[in-house]
Symmetry: C2
Subunit: 432 residues, 2 copies
Amino acid sequence: MVLRLNKTDIDFDAAFKQLLSMKREQDEDVNLAVGDIIKDVRARGDAALCDYTKRFDRSDMKPEMLRVSADEIENAEADCQSETLQALDVASKRIADFHARQKPQDERFTDAQGVELGHRWTAVSAAGIYVPGGLASYPSSVLMNAIPAKVAGVERLVMVVPMPDGKVNPLVLAAAKRAGVDEIYKVGGAQAVAALAYGTEVIQPVDVIVGPGNAYVAAAKKQVFGHVGIDMVAGPSEILVVADAENDPAWIAADLLSQAEHDSVAQSILMTDDAGFAEAVCDEVERQLTDLPRQEIARQSWENFGAVILVPDLTQDGPSLIDRLAPEHLELAVKDPEALSNNIRNAGAIFLGRYTPEAIGDYIAGPNHVLPTARASRYASGLSVLNFMKRSSLVSCSADSLREIGMDAIRLAESEGLSAHAHSVAIRLNKS
Amino acid sequence: MVLRLNKTDIDFDAAFKQLLSMKREQDEDVNLAVGDIIKDVRARGDAALCDYTKRFDRSDMKPEMLRVSADEIENAEADCQSETLQALDVASKRIADFHARQKPQDERFTDAQGVELGHRWTAVSAAGIYVPGGLASYPSSVLMNAIPAKVAGVERLVMVVPMPDGKVNPLVLAAAKRAGVDEIYKVGGAQAVAALAYGTEVIQPVDVIVGPGNAYVAAAKKQVFGHVGIDMVAGPSEILVVADAENDPAWIAADLLSQAEHDSVAQSILMTDDAGFAEAVCDEVERQLTDLPRQEIARQSWENFGAVILVPDLTQDGPSLIDRLAPEHLELAVKDPEALSNNIRNAGAIFLGRYTPEAIGDYIAGPNHVLPTARASRYASGLSVLNFMKRSSLVSCSADSLREIGMDAIRLAESEGLSAHAHSVAIRLNKS
């Protein structure tokens, strides 16, 4: 039976805190193993890559076979259904159109003292995207990670994807082609992250690495962070559906299950103001579960990590509880979703109204589906064009404008005991 | 003698690569010690904080004394020179004015299919800034870390600063007051980072932690990353001065030394197209060094990590070498700095022209002085208002617009084997 919380219960605060601190990820300590793999790839390059690929993916390759050829991509595309390819095209265009609006503006102005100031945004030269192999090898994820990089203007976009037993989902290669990926390599795991960060003979290094992966990939990204940029360390997916009694319980149940089917440690939470509606949704979840191909995964997620939170009033009680949950995905299936949304601070993506199931955002709406999990929407944003760009600030003084602001810089430098700092200003004011 | 490279030398490429991979930071492995401290603070809260503060800062305090009182701040301010306080006021205003222009715009639009899309930026609720104690306790750093948070709209801004033997630079407290810091605590080290991330009885947790610190602080920030946001893990400071022979060698020498005096592992590099000018600058460095209070630090930095790079033509040879160096600070003391700047991609901050010494940016120009070091400007930006804000994406479909885009979402979901995803869309199209 799914966990139920009622805000009017005396022990609600304790139960809610427990929900917040519920641990869904296992603490696999893979740091040492990952550190060794990274060292080995840095030392032995492609030879190490090939060794690990043989060991973990049962695929015996020479370095010159690591790169996916144009023929392999063409053949993969030929294996895909044309209507799925068309859907990928529609999704690609919508994602590109949305992300194009994220491109930041340069800034340049002269202030009252005559100092010219500003900043300029540029794309990183090269970016790498990690795509998981096997079951979780999703073409939608390729689009969501690759398109923002290309919109940013990244010149060299490199994808790595493990191909266990030499196999890959052909839609993943088709999606990579559509997204403008420039190079694809058949490697995965910590070894692939190490290759992207430090380079090998065959794989030139990149500046930023993004994309989801298992515990080894996550640990590797964390370890190479600082040498390259990374997006975030993503945890299991989650949804909070806020729904009043005017919804069809079957619709809301479907939304909860769409999250639960991802992963046995995914989390689906319903918040409602109507006890009867809550029970109707729970009944519907049970009913729909029986028809679901991924029933086992979804049931584990729902029974172990799902929750129903009953509150007296969604408008009054919702916002503060929602901000504390800081969900990755927030659905507002209420009469005035806009008004409720304006009072909420922490959510990776907000789906407004009864006709906006979260799944529409996973594929086609346009905004990115790579979003902060595990309450990280308190401080983090979804993947965007900004992950592939950086800002240089610009300062230009003339002799006159330096004179306007120079003395205060000298005073502050001297107060900090940094006399060479002071001198470098003073010498230009003819005061040295 | 400082390292000299000449692009026309046959071994230039090898020497340049060596310069790029020069290791300036010691690999202090403090991860285990830091992990223990974090665990202890999580377990014992303020009692642990007080124990570590007694041990590391020789300051014996009860938990209720950890917070700096309003009286202590007033008294500190009274100890400061009024012209330094005035300079802090000028700097605060200029920094706030510049950062106000960084506030990102919300976005909302309806696309051709009738889907409402957009995103909304909000400030994090609470942020913490780390300020080092002792010698490197700089009021300018307080302003640069705190003001962007307040401009972003952070409601609760918390500062931690170790006070060895109970002492603190009074200007640091005065700067905190000017920058709008809401709470200040007398703790430092990994224990302070742990308290900000997880909270204790006295210190409520924050969502983002920024600010420089020693190896323990850096390791602690990296370990709590994911539970809270962090800015970056900063390394020793560096400058690349690109200067033609029309400059006064004394000015350029002063700029190189202003970086070198920071730290014995700071790095100052001169790039020029004139061998005679290069030698004149080196002579000036020697001459100015003898007058410098921090002569010993600056000399170590210059002799161990400084470099002079001679190139045939700054316009032709400069940009690609500069991008490979990806400097934190870049000075362009050339005839047409604007034109050269437009060909450069990687630099944290660019100082244009002969009258813009880097030190003006450290204190008063307005842009942030917290910038990516160790070639991180390839992928990272300086500290900004964005470090204290996050973006929620917004999607709103009507029955009609869901019908427009729904079928493609269903196709993609089915191609990924995620049938509950497909169902959550289909059920709203009356197709289930």
